[in-house]
Amino acid sequence: MPSRPPFIAIGLLSVCVLAYEVLLTRLFSITLWHHFAYLIISAAMLGYGASGTALTLLKENIAANFGRIYVISAAVLAVLMPLAFMLAQQIQFNPLELLWDKSQLYGLFAVYLLMMLPFFCAGLGVGLVFAHFGKQASRIYACDILGAGTGSLGIIAVLFLVPPQQALTALSATALLAAAIAVVELKMQPKRLMEFFLAMAALAAVAIPDMPLRPSPYKDLSQTLNIAGAHVVEELNSPLGQITVVENNRVPLRHAPGMSLNATSEPPPQLGVFVDGDGPAALTRFDGRFEALAYLDQLTSALPYHLVKQPRVLVLGAGAGSDVLQALYHGSAAVDAVELDRNVIDLMRHRFRDYAGNLYGQRGVHVYKAEARGFVNASDERYGLIQLALLDSFGTASAGLYGLSENYLYTVEALQTYLGHLAPDGMLTITRWLSLPPRDALKLFATVVAALERNGVTDPAARLVMIRGWKTVTLLVKNSAFTAGEIAATKEFCRSRFFDLAYYPGMLAGEENRYNLLQQPYFYDGAVALLSPQRQDFIDRYKFYIEPATDDRPHFFRFFKWDSAAELFALREQGGMPLLDWGYPLLVATLAQSLAASVALILAPLAWSRCRRTLPSASVALYFLAIGFAFMFMEIAFIQKFVLLLAHPLYAVAVVLCAFLIFAAVGSWLAGHWQRADKVTLAVIAIGMLSLLYIVMLPSLFQALMHWPDAAKILFSVGLIAPLAMCMGVPFPAGMMRLAAANGQTIPWAWALNGFASVIGAVLATLLAVHLGFAAVILLAVLIYAIACAALGRFS
């Protein structure tokens, strides 16, 4: 029997698992609509928790075959990582049908259980080593955590180099390599096993073709590719997204969102640019002749150019350049274009440079690879016009697909920042899709009013203009009061394009609803109410959630309200289905499923085994449940919060997971060597103080550092999380040690309850963040830690 644990193999296995967790969020973004981070983290926790229970029950049976089972679990992991995802793709889970067809819930559950399997397998492998080499637990833990940290951050680097499908194959090869190394480390016979696994690893890395991704047929890209003549001309991958460029010479893309019905021109040929299959953004052919671009003056977004002459323009989210082109068409003096994804800029500058008429190399056009808010924050410029591009597609927006996504571009704080960088008579302009009854337009209006007030503006009503076409709404916010001339120009702009006035300072009832008739003048009525002293009352009584989005609750696209849920659900067959965002019911369904699955796979098997004779006391149960919940609440809240600083959900998931894992492990290790009886109390006090400090400090700290380079921001984030995570690493091992000393037989229960709380906690934290905000979730976590602390005192 070997005396040394398989340190290298353990490390490699952990690399795989954490990299897989992050990679799945990427893959789900491409095949479905959302990154589903909460679902994947919950599935991972379920896999780990269930493996703990399985180990408890099977320990004696498998002890003799420890080496073999360990190697097999690594090999099975190699197979399961791609296989589970492949099978999940076969399940035709369609969130759009969720509310029509209850069988979609089974699909969701099946996806969840499939995603759990690889984590179960890895948990079994790592758990076996811990069980077998108990005395060297701290060194095993170190390798485990080092691997986890490397995996979660390393996958980001890998995703810059290869497409996600290829990264998945690479993970399989790594797991097989781990199996081969384990054979050596555990001195297993026959030695040929090692060669076999090495050969398999090489085979996986070289010979296995990448798994084809099967995006939902209802995603914009899938729909576009079904059109006769459509084909992909370019595809680029990075952690920020998969960029696909589609050409169709037979049925050309003609993207002119909400073009006036009075327009006679049509757009020139265009290519469709999709990010993770969402879109399209139009890459318009430009041959230097502006006459061909007349359609750009027939959109509601052209209004500001009729009010501000030759402004200096800032386009946030420039993408394939539609808004830059619009600015040039209207004779703007200079255009600063900000785009987050370098791949998109490169496409415009190289591959499609001639097609786009060297748009990003035109005189006066400056392109910056940066995150929008960070760029504005760090800029000393003042702009005549700041334009926030319409980035999401009509279909996804109208189906409520972004209901759970955090979006830091449309928050009160973000708008304050943009408004702060306007020239004295400059304007901020935002165009949104028209939804009916109004949702995002009114939420945006409310958010802008709040931002103006927070900036100390006393006359917000004088600075706002809103117009609507049949498909889009454009909101203008001026840095001073609108003049009579500007209002007259607005009226003329709308009249000649069959657009309607929704709000301007001094507008009279009856002036709206001229060309695009609504049952009631919803937009005008809403705007007036939001500017009146009864604003809060209106927001409260409105049947959609239009409370201004803030950095603490950045779910701009959440319109779901429990108060109207029953009414909306009842109306679903009478054409009311699109009034319900699916994102929210999906989250609730996931919560119910995670509860059922974790009871069935973690707790129930223990309850049926001989462990039922060693039930833990109430305070022991409470303690391990509480620290499980609190840890997940903290982690999920930080992931969502750090999206603001790190500019992308994937970066946030990878960095925050990595930091929490590594430093919680360091904390655990230190706690093991720390002989104070009250160490949990001290740790919880420190957690409370750090949390309060962060809640107060983070907003302004993030504002100040947003423009830093990515590497610096990642290091800074890890540094911020480190002390908190170290303290959060203390309670679990401290509780275990206390239990071991008092009543060791209940340890399996402690593991299981903690795992159970982690599974639910991941989903519950997301749900609570939507309702209460991140600060509240973090405070709640502190409170739960305090409860745990009290429970620990009653252990014996």
Binding site: S103, F394, G395, S398, L436, P437, N516, P578, L579
Partner: protein, 271 residues
């Protein structure tokens, strides 16, 4: 599920059980992924002797559609469904326009997938859209986005001639063949770009654009007769958010109406 059990399932559908049949069919949709069974069901149920079950289901569907229309009358601007539309919907066999495996769900008041990421609209929405078009006998109608061909069939029951263009090749071919085999001689279909309409057949009394479009193609507006009406559903697949009705005035100017297909007031009644 074996053959015997499948026959038992089919056996449940005996004529004249009203709501129970409806409930059974509703339950049946959960089995839709069992393709083999679905094919079997289609085969069995589309035999003439089983036509009655579908008729019963269709009249149930119509009851619902009529009730929904009445409930939303103030929103659509119509007090009741045009009898011609109701007659067409009562007649057209919707189960022939959905994939075989979904035939049992064909008369549910919900949209259904028809492949290629496309859907057949919810019956209530089809009724509302057709109604808004004010189609009369003798009219010439253009449809952009044939899909399954169901909407074209409904229109063909009322209008003199229907011209329909589909952008997705296999879907367009299937629909064309289907309409032909069902004897709709007054429907002409074509696969290709709908942007420029069907100039040879223009002008049209009514146009319906069910294909997602970022804007209304100017050529289509041109091909609409003065006094004609164009209907465009807006939203994602499975989710018709609102309907846009474009009315071309006799003088050629255009107004639109954004119609919520549901009776819903976003603000709760005041104090």
């Amino acid at each position: 599920m074996g053959f015997q059990e499948a026959v038992e399932v089919i056996g449940i559908y005996s004529p004249g059980q009203g709501r129970e049949i409806y409930a059974t069919i509703y339950w049946e949709k959960n089995l839709k992924r069992h393709f083999a069974l679905g094919a079997l069901l289609t085969f069995a149920l589309t035999l003439p002797s089983h036509g009655d079950e579908f008729n019963a289901a269709r009249s149930m569907m119509m009851e619902e559609v009529l009730a929904d229309t009445a409930a939303t009358s103030s929103y659509s601007g119509r007090t009741a469904l045009d009898p011609r539309v109701a007659a067409a919907m009562s007649k057209v066999e919707r189960h022939r326009f959905v994939p075989g495996a979904l035939a049992a769900s064909a008369y549910l008041n919900r949209p259904l997938p028809i492949g290629y990421g496309q859907t057949i609209s919810q019956p209530f929405i089809v009724a509302l859209m057709t109604d808004l078009m004010h189609v009369k006998a003798g009219d010439r109608v253009l449809e952009i986005g044939t899909g399954s061909g169901y909407q074209a069939a409904i229109l063909a029951e009322i209008a003199n001639s229907v011209y329909s263009i589909e952008i997705i090749e296999p879907l367009g071919k299937q629909a064309g063949e289907r309409l032909e085999s069902l004897g709709y001689r007054n429907v002409k279909t074509r696969v290709g770009d709908g942007y420029y309409g069907w100039p040879e057949a223009s002008p049209f009394d009514a146009i319906i654009v069910t294909a997602a479009a970022s804007h209304v193609p100017p050529p289509l507006l041109k091909q609409l007769k003065p006094g004609g009406r164009m209907v465009i559903p807006l939203g994602a697949q499975f989710m018709t958010q609102y309907l846009m009705l474009v009315e071309k005035q006799p003088d050629g100017s255009v107004t639109t109406r954004q119609i919520l297909p549901v009776r819903f007031v976003p603000l709760t009644g005041g104090h």
